[in-house]
Symmetry: C2
């Protein structure tokens, strides 16, 4: 019997601000927040993983070793929505041939917007 | 309407090996594998996010900006199981007071084993 994948924790310079960005991205809500401390966003209390943003003093330094892939309803429409929320296009060497779009959140964390697909991973 | 949190992608020196470690951790299975390419582990085809391990040439360099929190059935029993699978205890400055245990996977990616809890995040 394994452990449950419970949450994805993201080091952040500004947890409140970054949590609100990701809540908009995923249509999650802020379910826990304490001044100067961690902020939790999730779809609801029984769905996980949610995202937890924890304050750290240091900025992001290198390409993240872990990143999130998003499955949108329409890739290009979603990319424009996310750029409107504060995401930026970034080049991590993905080249012109790939079917996904690489963006970074307002603190520079890379993530990918896939072509829509059904099913699981 | 937001995007779905579809997968967590993990840069890896040895995707096959690291995927097998995490499949054991989460009781997931390998659902896709191609020689020298990405490896996907998930609970089943309709549950997400799964984990995707993609090959990269560079080793992990700094403390990860994103990490996974695990919800076990018994924290200390689970920590011993995970160490048996190849995890190691690491010090990221968490101090002696915290209720979770910080481990690293065989490629050094930090993750936390929480005290058991019900519900969502």
């Amino acid at each position: 019997m394994g452990s449950r994948l419970y949450s994805i924790v993201i080091d952040s310079r500004n947890p409140s601000s970054l949590a609100r960005f990701w809540a908009e991205v995923l249509d999650f809500k802020v379910v826990y927040e304490e001044e100067g401390s961690e902020v939790v966003v999730a779809r609801d209390d029984s769905t996980y993983p949610g995202l937890i943003f924890v304050p750290v003093p240091e900025p992001k330094a290198v390409k993240n070793r872990l990143h999130i892939d998003l499955n949108p309803h329409d890739r290009d429409v979603e990319v424009e929505r996310l750029i409107g929320l504060g995401a930026k296009r970034v080049d991590v060497g993905q080249g012109p041939e790939v079917t996904w779009v690489v963006l970074a959140d307002p603190e520079g964390n890379e993530f990918c917007v896939l072509r829509p697909r059904d099913g699981g991973v």
